[in-house]
């Protein structure tokens, strides 16, 4: 297996594992722009075909854009707009990703969701939502009364009148997912080029020449999965179809000691203003409160604000009052790629050997694998010869989930290698063995943040008071 992951210098040519129909002149058959969860899923899907595929990413890591900062829920799509592309892909994506996660060790917990009604008006909305779920092909939802609700969620604030139960809504690890896709893709021959921003695109009959921050790249087919910048990449090809409006979501992560307060994903009843603020467990054993919903025009505005945090705490106080007494572990914000349309903007451009994957707003993590299939179909439809499908090499990801045995609890691992019994990050129980493994992985981290997303090191309640300097020393040593 030769793995091609580049981070600097001129781009290599596309001589991958030989395409059957390519000109063989170093041109990639397909190039995917953007290694978020969506782009990585597409690259992985393409890796199952005899194609020379490149995945190019502007930042120094995969999953470093919107994909690293979401609420990490594996949605059923029960509340999607019936008949929409998003609705279908979320539904399919849920099945595909749940199965993939089980195979590869991406942590998923099927905790279920409760859509809680806090007043009569909201209560009256629930039967309609139940019917909508059925129209979306989801039949496991049911209505529960105030008493059962209280039994299921004893820490819920006063005044909850009833709920819609959606037993298949799940929580998933947002960091392992794009990493698994990209790892499997590059192991199967996809070239990953990091620190490689696409700045210009010139087209001709044979395909596209991308000018990137690391030099030119030739490709026959192009997939634009650039997330918040999908409209800009579109414009590089002369398409003026939509504009991305970033919609910020700020979130508060509460300490692990709060986990016992919440057993389900507690969803608000949706309003015209959006899905609203939820309280949900995370696979890391914390509790999330958020997100806000703020339309902005700065695509880099991932900071938090005093007003945002205040609003979240007000909402949280209503939902689970005791949560507010718990320590806060982290605050972050993500930007949804809104396009003014209540659906994805996935479009093939037949004459142009080009597919736009835009407007993957608030469900892209869930839908990623289904989007990848859909996009691969579109590529075939506009003339890409996919050839036979073959199975990808099996993959097992390191487990970051609290519901599955982590290395520090595994006597077998520690007996083989004491580094798994040597804790470095105490709050998150991260061992030296895991940190070392991250550096020798197919896709090693290039920043302390990247290391955190692979191991959880330094991501806990002390935020480095105890382990920060030691983790940094390991990071600097691991990179050297």
């Amino acid at each position: 297996m030769t793995v091609t992951v580049t981070t600097a210098g001129p781009l290599p040519t596309g001589d991958g594992p030989g395409s059957t129909d390519g000109p063989g002149d170093g041109t990639y058959d397909v190039t995917v722009v953007g290694a978020g969860v969506v782009g990585a899923a597409i690259a992985r899907e393409l890796a199952g075909h005899r194609l020379r595929t490149a995945l190019v990413e502007a930042s120094d890591d995969v999953g470093n854009g919107t994909s690293k900062a979401n609420t990490a829920i594996l949605h059923t799509g029960f509340d999607a707009v019936p008949g929409s592309l998003e609705g279908r892909l979320v539904r399919e994506g849920h099945e595909l990703l749940a199965a993939y996660a089980a195979r590869t060790g991406i942590p998923v917990e099927r905790v279920g969701a409760l859509l809680v009604a806090w007043d009569d008006e909201q209560l009256a909305t629930l039967p309609g939502l139940l019917a909508k779920a059925a129209r979306n092909g989801y039949h496991a939802a049911r209505l529960i009364g105030a008493q059962e609700l209280r039994e299921r969620e004893p820490h819920l604030g006063p005044g909850a009148l009833g709920a819609l139960e959606v037993p298949d809504e799940s929580i998933i690890c947002p960091w392992t997912t794009p990493l698994a896709f990209a790892t499997q893709a590059v192991r199967a021959g996809v070239h990953l080029h990091l620190n490689c921003r696409v700045r210009g695109i010139a087209g001709d009959a044979g395909g596209h020449t991308l000018s990137t921050s690391r030099g030119p790249l030739r490709t026959r087919y192009l997939v634009n999965a650039a997330g918040l910048y999908a409209d800009e990449v579109d414009r590089l090809l002369g398409h003026e179809e939509f504009t991305v409006t970033p919609r910020r979501g700020q979130l508060i992560v509460f300490d692990k000691l709060a986990r016992g307060l919440v057993d389900h994903i507690l969803l608000p009843v949706p309003t015209a203003a959006g899905k609203g603020v939820l309280v949900a467990p995370t696979v890391f054993g914390n509790v999330l409160l958020g997100p806000t919903s703020e339309d902005l025009d700065d695509r880099t505005a991932t900071g938090s604000t005093a007003e945002g945090l205040h609003l979240l705490r007000e909402k949280g106080r209503r939902i689970v009052p005791a949560l507010l007494d718990e320590e806060v572990t982290a605050v972050y914000a993500g930007l949804r790629a809104g396009t003014g349309q209540e659906d994805y903007r996935i479009r093939d451009h037949p004459g142009r050997r080009y597919v736009t994957v835009g407007g993957i707003r608030s469900t892209g993590l869930t839908a990623s694998m289904a989007i990848a299939r859909h996009v691969t179909g579109l590529l075939a439809g506009i003339g890409l010869d996919l050839g036979d499908r073959h199975d990808l090499p099996e993959l097992t990801m390191p487990n970051l989930g609290e519901a599955f045995p982590r290395p520090y609890l595994r006597a077998d691992l520690i007996a083989r290698d004491p580094a798994y019994g040597t804790l470095v990050c105490h709050c998150e129980h991260v061992t030296l063995g895991e940190i070392r493994d991250a550096f020798s992985a197919t896709l090693p981290p290039h920043s302390p943040d990247g290391l955190r997303r692979r191991t959880r090191a330094r991501g806990g309640r002390c935020q480095g008071f105890y382990c920060g300097a030691a983790v940094r020393a390991l990071f600097e040593g691991g990179r050297a």
Binding site: E327, A330, V331, P405, L423, H429, F465, G468, A469
Partner: protein
């Protein structure tokens, strides 16, 4: 999963000043197998990375504290450096015969006095006749303080800063702002200067206090709240709002968030110990008993944060209670009355009355206030019964301990409501 099961007489969790002193005292008193577990590769606790002097001995000794509580404006004055203090504490515990095991983390409980551990040698389950928790305290990081803004590199707590500079020799920045003005903030300034970092200013949201000692070359901004951090990959500034409404941005590439301590209470909570709402450490009485029979607690876990010699003194003092437990002469845990404080007081320690009216060390309680109180009066009451009145002749200042006499303890009704400490008229 295979765990090795063992029994010991006394298990001490945490080898900081408190745990080491408890281990030394107990081993010397013949308490049997006394084992101290420390998750770091080296024992000694926080003093390991406090290079300044002021540990143990000298003016920081057990003598009565002057009006300004802790010695002067910093920890320094007399005593030895932190690392030397740590080494001495470790040596004393080992010399006395305590078994000290480093690199071993207590990860949870398997019973009321049975802990589970992870270390390079494998997993264990250790049952003890007495467990002493001495897990210390940490400073609240930026997230817990809900400071908004971007998430750049260059944001530290004092603990991380000291380890970066003193244990790892890491580069930490060029221009720093220190948030906080307690003694630990001055320790942060010293560490920054030792690392060649220019300290732009020290800022605190507290109002300007009379007679505040100004340090040459260190601007102190009072009444200034941090409203945001700015910068993309690296910190570029700290945004402040002054009490008069003005906003300022201090340009810097490093910020150190100091003080605002919280006990490292995960184990205590996971073990089901009752916590005190004020200290956020385990609720405890003058004999260092927690709500769980046979589980004791000492040091900064009880009251973030006091000086190292206070922690060590508690470590030695707990030995008496532990020895009673080992010999079966322990006083039964009767329903001690909680001691609660009203704002602006933040906490009192100990915070439970003992069943037989035991007095805390030195015959007095330790308190902290959230606001400066010039010559405050205190009222101690139980229900509508007044138990005690006391006036402090000096100001009570945030970030520094002050004391309340304990002579009223024998007037507490052991079946009555909680005992309240208030500052009337505030």
């Amino acid at each position: 999963m295979t765990r090795t099961a063992r029994r010991v007489d006394v298990l001490i969790v945490g080898a900081g000043p408190a745990g080491l002193a408890a281990g030394a005292e107990l081993a010397a008193a013949g308490a049997g197998h006394v084992e101290i577990l420390e998750r770091e590769a080296e024992a000694g606790g926080v003093p390991r990375h406090c290079l300044h002097g002021g540990f143990g001995g000298g003016r920081t000794g057990a003598g009565p504290q002057g009006p300004l509580g802790t010695p002067a404006r910093t920890y320094a004055r007399g005593g030895t450096s932190g690392p030397a203090y740590a080494r001495q504490s470790v040596a004393a515990a080992v010399r006395a015969g305590a078994a000290l095991r480093t690199g071993v983390t207590v990860t949870g409980w398997a019973g009321p006095r049975t802990v589970e551990t992870t270390g390079p040698a494998g997993l264990e389950r250790i049952t003890a006749t007495a467990v002493v928790l001495a897990t210390g305290a940490r400073e609240r990081p930026r997230s817990a303080r809900l400071i908004p803004g971007t998430r750049p590199a260059g944001v530290y707590t004092t603990g991380e800063l000291q380890q970066a500079v003193h244990l790892h020799g890491q580069w930490v920045g060029t221009r720093a702002v220190v948030v906080g003005d307690e003694p630990v903030a001055h320790a942060a300034v010293a560490t920054l200067r030792a690392a060649g970092v220019h300290v732009v200013a020290m800022v605190t949201d507290r109002p300007s206090a009379p007679l505040r000692v100004r340090r040459p070359g260190l601007p102190l901004l009072t009444g200034a709240t941090v409203t945001a951090l700015t910068g993309r990959t690296r910190l570029s500034g700290v945004e402040l709002r002054r009490d008069d409404g003005r906003t300022t941005i201090l340009r810097c590439d490093t910020v150190v968030l100091t003080g605002d301590f919280v006990p490292e209470h995960e184990l205590a909570r996971r073990g089901g110990l009752t916590l005190d709402p004020g200290t956020r450490g385990p609720a405890y009485d003058a004999a260092f008993r927690t709500s769980q029979p046979g589980v004791f607690a000492v040091g900064n876990l009880l009251h973030a944060v006091e000086r190292a010699d206070v922690a060590a003194r508690e470590g030695r003092a707990v030995a008496v209670s532990v020895l009673h437990r080992l010999s079966g002469t322990e006083l039964p845990t009767a329903p001690g009355r909680p001691l609660v404080v009203d704002a602006p007081l933040r906490w009192i320690a100990p915070n439970v009355t003992g069943p037989y009216g035991e007095r805390p060390a030195g015959g007095r309680f330790v308190l902290r206030t959230a606001r400066r109180l010039p010559r405050p009066r205190f009222l101690v009451s139980q229900g509508d019964r007044e138990l005690h009145r006391q006036r402090l002749l000096v100001p009570a200042v945030p970030g520094r301990p002050f004391h309340l006499a304990a002579e009223w303890l024998d007037r507490v009704d052991p079946h009555g409501p909680p005992v309240r400490i208030t500052v009337p008229g505030r």
